[in-house]
């Protein structure tokens, strides 16, 4: 009995360190591999994750004991799929359960490769990314390939066409990336997917072993090599067309793009993937907005109703998760709307540098039920959607101005008529 209590007490700290809105970084990560050789051949990537505090659980992808959730509770905070050839997952994991996992707000990293199975391709399609339909196709680039000692078939390409976003890739410059795998395309109407690494305009996706007889379906810069998706519930998904991009061999090797004279000692793979994994696991670019306040200018309490043509102040605090703590978020493009079917007032909030955003404006001359809306969607950041309802009433009958300046002539005329009447009666009565 006492042993049970001890066991229970020992498990409590485990529960406290799980994923929660207060500490949005993921902690427990399930890594599914094709075979355990990947664990050692990609050890640099896994070690960098471990050194940032992640708790990695390695399993074979067809291990019958793997499960994402038990009794309705998720056992892991994030999932890494380094198993491009898997046809069917073991245990209770399948495409639908992985998508449910993402829908509940958890993160996902998927790496495909030249022998990617239909299952992996299906998972990617559900996330919004379409791999090339030809199963034997790889990305080939005859003018952007990476110069290597052996004469290859130009499937090993060096690409440095990154997305311009400091929050996704960090602010330091990244060297060219070595890539060898399949390419995918994104639907241009999809607003949730982003191309992080694109191929050069001379790349195309075709089978390198056979002659190209018909024009390839994916060509040029529309081929995306690495994409990220930020879902509406702020879950982040990384989809890469190459598993070897994560390997130690690519991390350590130098890179020289064909046609360029400079050879870099170290490819940018390690820096690129470290920065990107920080973003995917919510160590960067995760915002929270708290403490929405509004009140009339000069007062401190929040009224239940405003009157038209009142002056009011609105303030909100926005913080960004830095991996360990909430830091104040500093930006100059957060806006608040005073909205009733359409924004009557749209103002940019000013900040004091410590995460406090505020502005003041005049309530419009329209009465009804309004909302204070903050809809903030910036590339790479979680989307903020705040809304607070407040009614606005018209003037009470004693709140109008007492004497209307435009009507002073009429007041004057009426009083002058009265004065004339008095003078006339005096004249009329006392005149002989």
């Amino acid at each position: 009995m006492s042993k049970l209590i001890l066991l229970f007490l020992a498990l409590i700290p485990l529960l406290c360190s799980s994923f929660s809105p207060e500490t949005p970084s993921d902690r427990r990560v399930l890594v599914l591999l094709d075979d355990f050789a990947v664990k050692s051949s990609h050890s640099l990537f896994f070690n960098s994750l471990k050194s940032r505090g992640f708790d990695l659980h390695f399993h074979l992808a067809d291990d019958p004991k793997i499960a994402l959730q038990r009794y309705g509770q998720y056992l892991y905070d994030a999932l890494i799929l380094f198993s491009p050839t898997i046809e069917r997952f073991g245990g209770s994991v399948d495409a639908a359960s992985i998508l449910d996992f993402v829908d509940s707000g958890h993160d996902l990293i998927v790496a495909a490769d030249s022998n990617a199975s239909d299952l992996i391709r299906e998972i990617a399609t559900e996330c919004g990314v379409d791999f090339d339909e030809d199963p034997a196709a790889m990305v080939v680039d005859h003018s952007g390939y990476a110069v290597s000692a052996t004469e290859g078939d130009h499937t090993l390409i060096a690409s440095d066409d990154f997305i311009k976003s400091d929050v996704i890739l960090g602010s330091k410059k990244i060297e060219a990336i070595l890539f060898q795998g399949i390419g995918h395309s994104l639907n241009p109407t999809n607003s949730l997917v982003l191309k992080v690494l694109s191929a050069s305009p001379s790349a195309f996706s075709a089978n390198p072993k056979s002659k190209v007889t018909s024009p390839p379906s994916l060509t040029g810069s529309s081929i995306s090599l690495v994409s990220v998706i930020q879902a509406r519930n702020n879950a982040r998904i990384l989809i890469s067309g190459s598993l070897s991009m994560f390997s130690n061999r690519f991390f350590r090797s130098g890179v020289q793009k064909a046609g360029s004279p400079t050879k870099h000692e170290k490819s940018g793979n390690e820096q690129f993937l470290n920065e990107l994994s920080k973003w995917v696991f919510h160590e960067r670019g995760h915002l929270k907005a708290v403490n929405v306040q509004h009140h009339k200018v000069g007062e401190a309490n929040e009224p239940a109703i405003y009157r038209i043509i009142d002056n009011l102040e609105y303030s909100v605090e926005i913080y960004e998760w830095s991996g360990t703590s909430w830091e104040p978020y500093v930006a100059d493009d957060v806006q608040v709307q005073f909205y009733m079917m359409s924004p009557y007032v749209l103002k940019t909030l000013s900040t004091d540098g410590k995460g406090h955003y505020f502005t003041s404006f005049k309530v419009p001359d329209v009465y009804g039920v309004f909302q204070f809306k903050v809809e903030y969607e910036k590339l790479g950041y979680t989307s903020l959607s705040l809304s607070k309802q407040i009614p606005v009433r018209p003037f009470r009958h004693n709140e109008y101005e007492r004497f209307i300046p435009a009507a002073y002539p009429y007041y004057g005329a009426a009083f002058s008529m009265m004065a004339g009447f008095f003078i006339f009666t005096a004249v009329h009565l006392y005149n002989k």
């Binding site: 209307i404 435009a406 009507a407 002539p409 009429y410 007041y411 005329a413 009426a414 002058s416 008529m417 009265m418 004339g420 009447f421 006339f424 009666t425 004249v427 009329h428 009565l429 006392y430 005149n431 002989k432």
Partner: protein, 139 residues
């Protein structure tokens, strides 16, 4: 049907003028001696000598009404109730003054039996009611 000409208009105007001049001038003489007026008011003396004061009163009311109409045309009718109240005060005053003039005139056969004091009392009471209404409607 005879066509009217400018001679007819002149004749009409002359007839009206002589009729007006022949009315009993019970209100013609001004209150104060003319010699005490300073030079700035000299242009007013023919006005005061010829016209009756009651007519000047009516003219004053009508002029005030016209000024208000011109003002409304310029600025717009925003406090419409104030505009109506101002116009009504002028028009009502004019109408009541005209009624007093009719009733006080001894040559008027319709009002032979009406004492002029009674007419004046009616005039005062009606003006009081008028101004009460005006003050309420002025806003």
């Amino acid at each position: 049907m005879a066509r009217s000409s400018s001679k007819d208009a002149q004749d009409l105007f002359r007839a009206l003028w002589s009729a007006y001049a022949a009315t009993p001038a019970n209100l013609k003489v001004p209150l104060f001696p003319l010699s005490k007026l300073n030079s700035a008011l000299f242009f007013l003396t023919p006005l005061l000598l010829f016209f009756q004061i009651i007519d000047l009163y009516v003219l004053y009311a009508v002029c005030t009404a016209l000024i208000q109409v011109v003002y409304m045309a310029l600025v717009g009718s925003f406090p419409f109730n104030s505009f109506l109240s101002g116009i009504l005060s002028c028009v009502g005053t004019a109408v009541l003054a005209v009624c007093l003039r009719i009733q006080v005139n001894k040559e008027n056969k319709e009002f032979k039996d009406l004492a002029p004091e009674r007419a004046f009392a009616d005039f005062v009471l009606c003006n009081l009611v008028l101004h009460l209404v005006i003050m309420n409607f002025l806003g």
